[in-house]
């Protein structure tokens, strides 16, 4: 359409343009014609201007006739009368080149211009014209004389010249006969023979006056007219040419026609055409002739010059203005056509391209729509599949749970050792495997659906690590792989109390560890953890792969999802307690090829070569990665050095540390340490002890300490596994403990010998001299000083490994003068009896030192049977640890050392018990063996009881005996149930049916207590509060109680009970001020756990 519109424009414009051009052409034509006629007019004007000259001869003749009065003229008369008159006329009449008087008798007088001078020619002799024959006239003589051009007088010598014989000339006769004078073109009488126009008139029939005008002068009048390229041709009627400007042409007059002839160089003439000189309608007719390839316009007209009838021809070259215009017009037209055609072409091509593009776009659009539909369909399908999948797997899980339950039931009934039992056990394993697989698939679908959320809770990270490692230790041992927990720099112990998702972290660690154990056939698997301040970069990387881009996008788009993400990230960032925990699971297994390092984290990807025959879905690492990212971290495979076997997974998560808790813990520990040990001897009086001690010589230390010599402990390690030995050694060395290592049991005697020698030697020395050779003792004193208060102010960044350690393990200076030697022996390292013998021998040889032996035995093979060994070989104070030697066992062993609060033989049996307890029971409660000084006084009994219960692991069913609880529930059934449960646990329960009553009861109880003067004793140890009750609901009641108890300065623990199990209700409950939230129906274990949680808080 547009194309047509564009084409319409030139079709409208072209006629317009054409008419304009033709108008211009017409105008130009008119103009040129105008010009031509103007030229004619000008020529005619010039002619008219010359016209007065025609009559001058006749007039002069008239004047002479009057002055002569008919008298016969003699030469003297001519000289006196005619000559002055002639001179006057000569002087006055313009263009005159000669003037003469000629008498019939031959008398002649004339002035003329010759050689730029005025000359006079005269003939003073006469003859009788009537008698004399023409031949006589020749005799008449003629003279030339100079003339004074002012007076007309003749002067100088007269020169004789041949006679002019004018009388016989035709013009003389004609003039003599015509009354009105005669004009003709003649040659002048000067020497140059110029053409002159001669106008003559008779006087009384006796003489003729003739005035000669220079033809050249007159014609210049015509040629001086501006003819604009036109050429002029002028000729008298009798064929004498005056002007001929056109080159190589010749014009011949023939009547009223002028024939134009071409003069060829060889002299030939060629007639080109005729030009008519008949004038029609007042203007001459134009005729066109071609002369040598050029078109000329010819105009012919007659003319009267000084009475001489003549004809002039004007020739204009055709290529004048008009032809120029015409030529330009053609060029312009051509240009226009070119433009239009190019325009049309371009429009067409444009339209073509446009159409093609539109077509393509339409195709693309259609394809896109199709694709989108397909995608949507696929998404719908996938969604449906996921949903179906989730529900199906849920059902499968339910039936699997039933299966396992049934198998267990059958298992109980089956005869032990029978085939049925083994089959059942296998079935159980299969079912559990299936459950595990199903759980991983469920996790994946949960993550895919984005439904995975973090459940934050406080927990002990070190404990978690230990649990996980211990869990996989037996599995590893079975395969001959040692699973080691590397304490590393101790930072993880320092920041052990953290808040985060315990379950998911455990899942991650379990997954990685199980992988590591699964793919390792020999060597060891090491787990290490350390803490660092989260850096922005890490966090960004954690949020996504192209974190920076996402960050920018977030800045610009602020799209909700991304923004929330960012918010969460920022929140994690801004939390001052947030710390970055880095975990490494390092194995010596097959390893993963480098090119697979990234793809192993994708779902359903397994490294084929290694995974062959190992089973698994390939979902584990994908889940792990998702979980790690959920915790604002990232997981990667660390490149191992060439030659090293295995894989090292490293991941980091952001967890917030519970500072106050850890502080309190350390405080508690402090207290404990001070209690357990004796008052530190090293009370320095130097102004700045820490500094001084580090810089000054050790002598100063000695002088400033009045106490007896400080001895140091020595640890001997005989551990089979390299990695475990290395980590334990490093850990102890970081604590400035002297460590000697025996790699094989054969080396043990020599190592022990060395130590013995040294011990005994230093013992002798120490009597007189200070102990220069014990740097650790020197260090320990400084450290113990530092730990009192300076330690906590040290900024994190400046903390090095040993500082972490020292902040956990408070050094105290023991009172004992004798040194302490701790021998840690792997019972499997060699023949047990031999080992016992070596140790016993060593002990015998010691004079001044105490020795303690820690036996490490493998949990799977109980090869230490003390009963079979003679009493003298084994000290009853020896400690046996049957669990892997790391984590809490390692710390306990370190605490055996006197510097770290250990005591000697006297208390060692108790220590043994403790360690045994630690070893036997995978500890669930980190604070079980340590006392809880912070728990409120009223809980004192309970705590003890709990402890007893836990340590004894007895089945005492009344852990709550002596407790008074208030149960608030509107439902009589539930109330009854709860009360029954509580009674079963040994507690005293009071009931009420709504929140108001509960509030009143608490209020009354509090005021009663105050009256008794024991306001710090709580009226109820715990309140079990239903949330939804008539009158006043549980939330409101809790709020009121919290408000009220403030004035008494107490805190009554309130446990919320709801039938809702969703997280939202729990949140509301906690916000209302309740301590714990439990789901209905009340379970004994849950309640106990909740009470334990409250007590530890």
């Amino acid at each position: 359409m547009q194309a047509f519109a564009v084409m319409l424009l030139p079709t409208a414009l072209i006629p317009c343009w054409y008419s304009m051009i033709s108008r211009v052409e017409r105008q130009v034509n008119l103009n040129s014609q105008d010009f031509h006629s103007k030229l004619h007019y000008e020529i005619e004007n010039t002619e008219k201007f010359l016209h007065p000259i025609n009559s001058s001869a006749t007039n002069l003749a008239g004047v002479l006739k009057l002055s002569l009065n008919g008298t016969k003229l003699s030469f003297s008369m001519i000289e006196t009368k005619v000559a002055p008159l002639l001179f006057q006329a000569w002087s006055t009449i313009p263009y005159l080149s000669q003037i003469s008087y000629t008498g019939l008798e031959g008398l002649f007088f004339s002035y003329y211009t010759g050689q730029n001078q005025t000359l006079a020619v005269y003939s003073n002799s006469s003859y009788n014209s009537r008698s004399s024959a023409p031949n006589v006239k020749k005799n008449l003589s003629c003279y030339i004389q100079h003339v004074n051009h002012e007076t007309g007088e003749l002067y100088g010598n007269s020169i004789e010249c041949p006679s002019l014989n004018l009388v016989s000339k035709r013009w003389f006769q004609e003039a003599l006969n015509s009354p009105n004078g005669y004009a003709s073109l003649e040659t002048g009488w000067n020497n140059s023979q110029d053409l002159i126009l001669l106008s003559s008139a008779r006087i009384n029939g006796e003489g003729v006056i003739s005035l000669g005008f220079s033809a050249q002068l007159l014609t210049t009048r015509f040629t001086s007219i501006d003819r604009q390229g036109g050429s002029l041709y002028l000729a008298t009627k009798d064929g004498k040419v005056l002007i001929e400007e056109l080159k190589n042409t010749h014009m011949v007059l023939a009547g009223n026609m002028v024939s134009v002839q071409l003069m060829k160089p060889n002299g030939e003439k060629k007639v080109l055409g005729n030009v008519s000189c008949i004038i029609k309608d007042g203007s001459p007719r134009a005729s066109t002739l071609n002369i040598q390839g050029t078109e000329y316009m010819f105009y012919c007209s007659s003319l009267d010059i000084v009475g001489v009838q003549s004809v002039y021809v004007l020739a204009f070259p055709q290529k004048g203005l008009v032809s120029l215009v015409r030529k330009n017009w053609i060029v312009a037209l051509a240009l226009l056509i070119v433009i239009i055609t190019s325009m049309v072409v371009s429009i067409l091509s444009f339209a073509y391209i446009f159409v093609r593009a539109a077509k393509r776009e339409m195709h693309l659009c259609a394809a896109l729509i199709k694709q989108m539909e397909a995608t949507q369909q696929a998404e719908r399908k996938s969604m449906n599949k996921s949903l179906a999948f989730a529900s199906a797997s849920h059902d499968v899980r339910a039936s699997l749970a039933g299966l396992t339950g049934l198998i267990e039931m059958c298992y109980e009934e089956a005869n032990p050792g029978s085939e049925l039992e083994t089959n059942l056990r296998q079935m159980d394993t299969c079912a559990k495997d299936l459950l595990g697989l199903l759980n991983s698939i469920l996790d994946t679908s949960k993550i895919e659906a984005g439904k995975m959320q973090l459940e934050e809770e406080e927990f002990d990270l070190a404990q978690l690590l230990e649990d996980v490692v211990d869990l996989y230790h037996p599995v590893g041992i079975k395969k001959g792989v040692d699973v080691v927990l590397d304490p590393y720099d101790g930072s993880a112990i320092k920041f052990s109390q953290v808040k985060g998702d315990r379950g998911k972290l455990k899942q991650i660690l379990c997954n990685l560890l199980s992988n590591a154990v699964k793919f390792t056939c020999e060597g060891h698997v090491t787990v290490r953890t350390w803490v660092r301040k989260p850096s922005l970069q890490n966090s960004i990387i954690a949020s996504s792969h192209n974190g920076l881009m996402k960050y920018l996008q977030c800045l610009f788009h602020k799209s909700n999802e991304a923004y929330n993400d960012l918010e969460a990230m920022n929140a994690a960032q801004q939390d001052p307690n947030a710390m970055e925990f880095v975990f490494e699971v390092d194995d010596t297994g097959n390893g993963i090829p480098k090119e697979k390092h990234i793809s192993v984290f994708e779902n359903y990807v397994q490294v084929k070569e290694t995974a062959l025959g190992q089973g698994g879905t390939g979902l584990g690492l994908g889940i792990v990665q998702s979980l790690v990212r959920l915790m604002h971290g990232d997981i990667s495979i660390v490149d191992k050095e060439i030659g090293e076997k295995g894989t090292c997974f490293r991941f980091n998560v952001i967890l917030s540390t519970c500072d106050n808790v850890s502080c309190n813990n350390t405080k508690a520990e402090d207290l404990e340490m001070v209690d357990g040990s004796h008052i530190p001897e090293l009370t320095l009086s130097t102004p700045s002890p820490g500094l001084w001690l580090r810089t000054s010589s050790s002598k100063l230390t000695v002088h400033s300490t009045p106490s007896p010599k400080v001895t140091t402990s020595h640890v001997v390690l005989l551990i089979q596994n390299n990695e475990r030995r290395r980590t334990s050694q490093r850990f102890m060395e970081n604590l400035s403990i002297k460590v000697s290592v025996a790699k094989q049991w054969e080396h043990l005697p020599s190592t022990l010998q060395k130590i013995k020698h040294k011990e005994n030697h230093s013992c002798h020395n120490s009597l007189g001299k200070s102990d220069l050779s014990s740097p650790s003792g020197y260090l320990s004193s400084s450290a113990s000083n530092n730990s009192s208060g300076v330690e906590k102010d040290v900024p994190l960044s400046s903390m090095d490994g040993s500082n972490y350690m020292l902040s956990v393990f408070k050094r105290t200076t023991p009172k004992f003068a004798s040194s302490f030697i701790l021998i840690v022996i792997d019972a499997c390292a060699g023949p047990f009896l031999e080992l016992c013998r070596i140790v016993a021998e060593f002990k015998k040889g010691l004079h001044n030192a105490t020795c303690k032996v820690v036996w490490l035995e493998k949990p799977t093979m109980r090869n230490i049977n003390f009963k079979h060994i003679e009493e003298d070989l084994v000290d009853p104070n020896d400690v046996v640890i049957s669990k892997p030697f790391h984590g809490s066992r390692l710390y306990q062993v370190v605490r055996l050392l006197p510097e770290f609060g250990g005591t000697l033989q006297g208390n060692s049996s108790k220590l043994k018990e403790e360690i045994k307890f630690q070893a036997e029971k995978v500890p669930k409660d980190p604070s079980s063996s340590r006392s809880k000084p912070r728990s409120p006084p009223s809980n004192g009994i309970l705590t003890k009881e709990q402890e007893i219960q836990e340590i004894g692991n007895s089945n005492d069913e009344k852990p709550l005996s002596g407790k008074k609880l208030l149960v608030a529930d509107d439902n009589v059934l539930l109330r009854k149930l709860t009360v029954a449960g509580l009674l079963k646990l040994g507690a005293i329960a009071e009931t009420c049916v709504n929140g108001q009553e509960a509030l009143d009861l608490v209020c009354k109880g509090l005021s009663d207590q105050r009256k008794l003067g024991a306001s710090n004793i709580l009226p109820y140890d715990y309140v079990l509060m239903d949330c939804e009750m008539p009158m006043m609901n549980g939330y409101e009641a809790t709020k009121q109680i919290r408000k009220m108890e403030k004035s008494y300065g107490v805190h009554i623990p309130i446990i919320a009970l709801t039938a809702h199990t969703s997280g939202g209700e729990a949140k509301v409950a906690i916000e209302a001020g309740m301590d714990v939230h439990l789901g209905k129906p009340l379970k004994k274990e849950h309640l106990l756990e909740a009470i334990r949680y409250i007590d530890t808080k």
């Binding site: 749970a401 339950g405 439902n971 059934l973 029954a980 079963k984």
Partner: protein
């Protein structure tokens, strides 16, 4: 009937109740709470549940009969019923209540009525079963035997 036989029958019967999913381990907890000081605890609690449930079911039926159903009220009742049934371990009634609450959220009258019907059915079912169980126990006690304790674990 011989006491031993009756005891075996009781165990079989109880097991079947668990297998059919009529009861869950909460009922076992109840049984564990019963001791010498409180010999009829289970029967008391269960009869309390029967009273409570019948009252609630009537309330729900009435509430649903209304021209414009007050679903918040119905929901509260169902919630209570759910709590009660959960505390005696009447699993199927409890599950019915969970489904019912979903309909309450959607304000679906038809679905609610259907659900109510189902719950009622389940309730009478469990009531019959439990009453039969108690009768059997009484018979055992009357015959001079002791009620065997179940040890089931999932």
């Amino acid at each position: 009937m011989e006491v031993g036989q009756m005891q075996r029958r009781l165990i079989e019967y109880t097991k079947s109740l668990f297998m059919e999913g009529i009861l869950d381990d909460q009922f076992l907890q109840l049984q564990q709470l019963q001791d010498e000081s409180n010999p009829d605890f289970v029967v008391e609690v269960v009869s309390l549940f029967f009273q409570d449930a019948e009252k609630l079911l009537n309330d729900i039926t009435r509430a649903l009969d209304q021209q414009s159903v007050d679903f918040t009220k119905v929901d509260a009742h169902v919630h209570q019923l759910k709590g009660s049934s959960a505390s005696v371990g009447a699993q199927r009634v409890k599950n019915g209540c969970i489904a019912f609450r979903n309909f309450c959220e959607e304000q679906n009258v038809d679905g609610s009525l259907r659900c109510l019907q189902q719950i009622k059915q389940e309730y009478y079912h469990v009531k019959n079963k439990l009453e039969a169980l108690f009768r059997l126990e009484q018979q055992i006690v009357a015959a001079g035997g002791s009620v065997p304790m179940m040890e089931l674990s999932f």
